[in-house]
Amino acid sequence: MVRDTSQEEPAIRFQDVNKSFGDHVVLDQLNFTVNKGDRVTLIGPSGSGKTTILRLVMTLEELTGGYIFIDGQPLTHDLRDGRRVELKEKHRNEVRKRIGMVFQQFNLFPNMTVIENIIEAPVHVLKVPKSQAITRARELLDKVGLADKEHAHPLELSGGQQQRVAIARALAMDPEILLLDEVTSALDPEIVGEVLEVLREVARTTDITMLIVTHEMQFARDVSNRVLMFDSGSIVEEASPEVMFTQPTEQRTRDFLAAVLGD
């Protein structure tokens, strides 16, 4: 397997991706790329396959067909001698280390304190010395505005605070790609703002590639440079946020935006 991993490789490339659950086809022959440093927001009605895309990149779901490449490297499947082969768990794990994810339900580990959550993977996966991991974790906690909560238990925190810890935990792995899966959907409306503010700051101060699924259109507009409109497992329209949110070409996009923006 010889692959070109030069600068031109996109951060993420979907090639002929199929995904179905039983008879239900979720993604149908999907092709798209995300370049390094891109902030791509996926929008579309629920059930259109947006979240499935994120979960496929994180290897939380198995591909039914096709390939996903991360920085030119195959993620779970590869084409060898004309045959599609499944890659070993060990290989997946190596590629996966470059990807971080923040979940809708936070998924902090309740058996660990806030700081233990953040240093867990750096210390045990990346083998960073513990003292160094702690220093970095404190910086990140400061960045998300929770410097005083390092010894708290996750369940003692509000939803917004838990989600900010989850963001710090994902960033502690220094991911090249960050997946944000409806990160504000489980939060009360009045605390959505504090989480989005943290993410805006991350977008402003880093060059991490981001793939975002969200219902917060203003946030999508602020942070992303590309927006993909999905429906029934395919891309309906792709545009910059300025164009997508003001003059979309497709009727389906207009209908969807009218519904979510309440115009």
Partner: protein
């Protein structure tokens, strides 16, 4: 009655020895059962049909063939294969294998009850299989399994009484000796109360473990503050089939 009490006082050192044997059987059996339960419970979750199948056969076999049969098999039949175990080892093995098989189902069920999001987060952080199980999933499942393990522990304590039939001088045996010196009603009332006290102590200990495990997950008081107004209602040993 007072002469009975004097007899009881005279027999007390022997009864303590009996309690000692009963506790060795209980603690030894429980330790083996815990190892068996975790090993089989983990194996039973594998995708590999061979590993999972082996675990299932073990679990169903040791749950399905009755404690006394296993005890007798180890005691009477195993020597035919050249393996002679001491009576106490036979007791510990039979109790450990039998209750371990029940415990395996508890372990498996508790691991399955840890929310899917926790597994997904371990994948997103690239934790290895071992790290994922022992650092994240198992500590959470542990808190879930303690109440059922407490019930099994009480069952195991009760199960130790049968080993007196393979000539073990446990508490049941000593109570029968006391009966010969006093009378049935007195001796067996003392016996039942002693077993009840042992069961209550074990339950209290397990409840303390549960409080600690829950506190570690950020739920409920710490053990220290829970003890400060010690109100641990003893939970009864609910059995399992």
């Amino acid at each position: 009655m007072s002469e009975h009490l004097i007899k009881l006082r005279d027999a007390w050192p022997q009864i303590l020895d009996g309690i000692g044997i009963t506790l060795v059987l209980t603690v030894g059996g429980a330790a083996l059962a815990l190892v068996v339960a975790i090993a089989l419970g983990l194996l039973a979750r594998f995708d590999n049909i061979l590993l999972r199948g082996t675990a299932r056969v073990f679990i169903e076999f040791f749950r399905g063939t009755s404690l006394v049969v296993q005890l007798f098999w180890l005691y009477f039949v195993l020597p035919r294969f050249g393996v002679e175990l001491s009576a106490i080892a036979v007791g510990i093995f039979a109790l450990g294998l039998n209750y371990g098989a029940y415990g395996a189902e508890v372990v498996r069920g508790s691991l399955n009850s840890v929310p899917a999001g926790q597994w997904e987060a371990t994948t997103a952080l690239s934790l290895s299989r071992t790290q994922r199980m022992w650092r994240v999933i198992f500590p959470q499942a542990w808190a879930l399994m303690i109440p059922s393990l407490t019930n099994l522990l009480i069952q195991l304590l009760k199960g130790t009484a049968i080993v007196s039939i393979i000539a073990m001088a446990d508490l049941t045996f000593m109570i029968d000796k006391l009966r010969q010196d006093t009378d049935t009603f007195f001796a067996y009332t003392v016996g039942l109360l002693l077993y009840f006290a042992l069961a209550s102590l074990l339950t209290l200990g397990m409840n303390a473990l549960e409080i600690r495990a829950k506190h570690k997950l950020g739920r409920g008081d710490s053990l220290r503050s829970a003890l400060s107004f010690s109100s641990s209602a003893s939970r009864a040993g609910k059995g399992v089939a």
